[in-house]
């Protein structure tokens, strides 16, 4: 009996490894697990004060309901990739606000005309200082801000469809 258990031990270890790796892969797909990412320091913290042409912190707070804030730029190819996903979120009535990061205004406008505009409000972070304050490591990057103006979730890189679906259900329910 003991011997049997001993012989099953390698299978047990392999199974534990397999299940956890599956959990990691799922997490990577949904954006909840990133083995390389720098953790965002904004998580569970109130938004830093900012005032950009377009909207400012007070506007976000006035809104009094959870919103998604997306950093993007017209020069960023992955943002093109992300555009249809953002449009889908918009169709699901997810409040989506955009901040154009280090971009020329006309280029941003052309980008939004070409790809479709998913944003309810648009601000311009020309100098990139707000991006630095928020601790973004690149564009696109998305923040979920709750009604009290506290960052609840963050994703670096283009939103994967799975993460977008999860967000959409979270907002509608």
């Amino acid at each position: 009996m003991n011997r049997r258990l001993l012989l099953l031990a390698p299978l047990g270890l392999a199974a534990i490894g397999g299940v956890s790796f599956y959990a990691m892969l799922r997490g990577m797909k949904r954006g909840t697990f990133d083995p390389r990412g720098i953790p965002s320091q904004m998580l569970d913290k109130p938004l830093p004060d900012f005032d950009l042409p377009g909207f400012n912190r007070a506007d976000v707070l006035k809104n009094a309901r959870p919103i998604l804030i997306n950093f993007f730029a017209s020069w960023c190819a992955p943002c093109i990739d992300e555009a249809p996903i953002l449009l889908k979120l918009r169709q699901a009535h997810v409040p989506l606000w955009g901040i154009a990061y280090k971009d020329k205004h006309e280029a941003t406008d052309a980008f939004l005309v070409r790809q479709g505009n998913p944003f309810a409000h648009l601000a311009h972070d020309d100098a990139g200082t707000v991006g630095i304050e928020w601790g973004i490591t690149g564009v696109p990057e998305t923040f979920l801000v709750d009604a009290a103006g506290i960052v609840r979730w963050h994703f670096a890189g283009p939103l994967p469809p799975e993460a977008a679906d999860a967000l959409a259900t979270r907002f509608t329910s």
Partner: protein, 658 residues
């Protein structure tokens, strides 16, 4: 058209693999000789089909067929021909196809050289290889098709990551893959033995050469990878305990353990269950290492497309292969029967010790490699496990191995005594002690101790030969005669053990490495470890697909010229990426290693390294692989003998019938 032919070859190989996985296994189960006999033909068919397929990929790459997506992404018209060829296995898709090809070659080799095996064992081994190959070929065909087309074809490709455009790395993957995939053969033997429900000495004899061949390739591959990291990454380090490096170290550790425990199965019919588990484990580590790198869970310079969806497919495949074989192991291992008896102090005992320690090291490395992932997943904390952890844990576990390595060959089978073995090694111990004390004068305690240990290992390995030929105890002519008469495998043992000693000496020597970072203007001098380095000038140069900034350094020692080195910084035009090309001068006792950094204030920032004994690290690995080759040559003679006898017998039978 060529791409479609390659695609067709891949599909054909899948069909062969499915047949190869089902028919022989079914035949062996039912005892039908005819079904078992088709196995070699199917394995060869699969090998040829995949060979054609891979040939097509190489052709498409050389011919710059950018309508093939894989080529457009990883090649460029300006890329040198060598890298166009090696680029065929440089991309994710190509490397999976290459992986399948090697697996098919392993199957083909078993089919070609497996003649003397019992029919049912051969059928089962080939069948298991077929099933494994089938999984990976399906993956290549369905999830990562290397022949997918791109329309409209671009005018030029995106080019390969410049870090990978390097001769060291061009040949590193194929050798490493031979090591990884070669482990599939011992694995197939283990699964076949579990299916048969029996293991004997002959099984051990057949498994050993395959393990040895894969181990040699793995040793060479790891050494080449470490050498590449040494000169291409420009940090002057050679082993970073990077997760990807660890992923290649794990199969090596388990394969080394397997190599030794298979001897016990062969000579003494003991440790059977354990050896089977090791064979499964070595292949499992090979596979999971690849999986972890490909899925993007671990970060690496080889960051292939990190696609979690692909990761799920590979994970499923691994679950079937590893989980299935371990389940079979749990169910069938009790059938393998009890093993021979031996005393704790004996050759078997020494090998058991080696196995326990190697597996403990493997366990520690696994823990250190995946712990950060688990901490992130379960505890939600970001931590990293760096070299200090591995040094603190691996070193204490490796020391007893180093000590026992010289003693082991002096032990007799079944029952031995420690004292006589130690007596025979007294002079080795003395020399090692002296080396250690001398080293202590210039080094810290740990490297000095390692120096002594290296001397103990190298001399201890040769002491075995000296003992066998009774040098100085019989006449030199007699000794020479004995030397000629020694089996090649004992040279294999000696070289293998001495090689590790050389590597350890190299690593210990690197602790004396000195490094200076200086800002030099043309005409200025700097000193490193007694060498005088003069920056002569800085100029621009142009390569086939990059522009370079080159610094000319004149190195002298005590006024005598040593060498002129020209480290570069290259910027690759298509990938907008810069690489540092370190330049190295070696005299086999030390490396002078020069790196050009950024330029400021009209001068250049230079990093100057002096690395004593650095070349020994890779020299040792080469000697180890050579030792493996020696043993392999010996085995072949012994295995070929029954083959020839069997062939002769078959010929006479045929003649008699005719």
């Amino acid at each position: 058209m060529i791409a479609e032919l390659g695609h067709f070859g891949l599909a054909l190989a899948v069909a062969f693999a499915i047949a190869q996985g089902i028919l022989p296994l079914w035949g062996a189960h039912r005892g039908e000789a005819r079904l078992m006999q088709v196995a070699p033909a199917l394995a060869l068919g699969q090998m040829i089909a995949l060979g054609i397929s891979f040939g097509c990929l190489v052709w498409a790459s050389v011919a710059d067929d950018f309508s093939v997506l894989n080529i457009a992404e990883n090649s460029h018209t300006l890329k040198p021909l060598l890298y166009k060829i090696t680029g065929a296995w440089g991309s994710h898709e190509g490397s999976i196809l290459f992986w399948c090809l090697i697996l098919a070659i392993c199957g083909g080799l078993v089919a070609l050289f497996g003649g003397p095996l019992p029919a049912s064992l051969r059928a089962r081994v080939i069948g298991v290889l077929g099933l494994t190959a089938c999984g990976f070929e399906l993956f290549a065909l369905l999830e990562s098709n290397p022949f997918a087309r791109l329309w409209p074809p671009p005018l030029d490709g995106r080019d390969m990551n410049p870090l990978l455009q390097d001769p060291g790395l061009a040949f590193h993957p194929p050798i490493l893959y031979f090591g990884y995939v070669g482990m599939a053969v011992p694995f197939a033997f283990a699964v076949a033995a579990l299916l048969e429900g029996r293991i004997d000495a002959a099984w051990g004899r057949w498994v050993r050469p395959w393990t040895l061949a894969a181990w040699c390739a793995l040793t060479g591959g790891i050494a080449l990878g470490s050498w590449w990291a040494y000169y291409e990454l420009g940090w002057g380090g050679f082993w970073f305990w990077d997760p990807v490096e660890n992923a290649s170290l794990l199969p090596w550790l388990t394969a080394t353990a397997l190599l030794h425990s298979a001897i016990v199965v062969e000579k003494r019919e003991a440790l059977k269950t354990w050896t089977v588990l090791l064979a499964i484990g070595a292949f499992a580590f090979s596979l999971s290492g690849t999986f972890l790198v490909r899925s993007g869970i671990l970060n690496s310079v080889h960051s292939f497309a990190n696609d979690p969806a692909r990761g799920v497919f590979i994970l499923g495949l691994l679950a079937i292969i590893i989980g299935g074989s371990l389940l079979l192991f749990a169910l069938r291992a009790p059938k393998l029967g009890a093993s021979g008896l031996f005393a704790p102090v004996s050759r078997e005992g020494a090998i058991v010790l080696n196995n326990i320690l190697l597996c403990s090291i493997a366990a520690v490395v696994v823990t250190g490699t995946i712990y950060p992932l688990f901490a992130d997943l379960l505890l939600d904390t970001k931590i990293s496990v760096g070299p200090p952890f591995f040094e603190a844990t691996v070193l204490p576990l490796a020391c007893p191995i180093f000590f026992a390595m010289a003693l082991g060959p002096f032990m007799s089978w079944k029952r031995a005594a420690l004292a006589p073995a130690l007596m025979k090694l007294w002079w080795v111990a003395l020399v090692a002690l002296i080396v250690g004390i001398v080293a202590k004068m210039g080094m810290h305690a740990v490297p000095a101790f390692a120096m002594g240990g290296a001397a103990w290992m190298i001399l201890g390995a040769f002491a075995d030969i000296i003992e066998r030929i009774r040098l100085f105890r019989v006449s030199p002519a007699n000794s020479f005669h004995r030397l000629i008469g020694l089996p090649l495998s004992s040279f294999g043992t000696t070289l293998g053990h001495a090689g590790l000693g050389i590597t350890v000496a190299g690593i210990a020597g690197m602790s004396l490495a000195s490094e200076t970072i200086v800002l030099l203007h043309p005409g200025e001098h700097a000193q490193v470890a007694g060498y005088d380095v003069k920056l002569v000038e800085l100029h621009d140069a142009k390569g086939s697909n990059y522009n370079a900034r080159v610094a000319t350094l004149e190195i002298t020692r005590d006024g005598r010229p040593v060498v002129t080195l020209a480290p570069e910084r290259r910027s690759f035009t298509t990938q907008t990426m810069t690489t540092t090309e370190a330049k190295i001068h070696t005299n086999l006792l030390r490396d002078l290693y020069m790196v050009l950094g950024e330029e400021r204030e009209g001068g250049a920032v230079l990093r100057l390294h002096h690395n004593p004994l650095a070349p020994w690290i890779w020299l040792g690995a080469l000697v180890m692989a050579l030792g493996g080759g020696c043993s392999l040559a010996d085995r072949r003679l012994r295995i070929a003998a029954p083959t020839r006898a069997a062939a002769a017998k078959a010929a006479t039978n045929k003649a008699a019938r005719a």
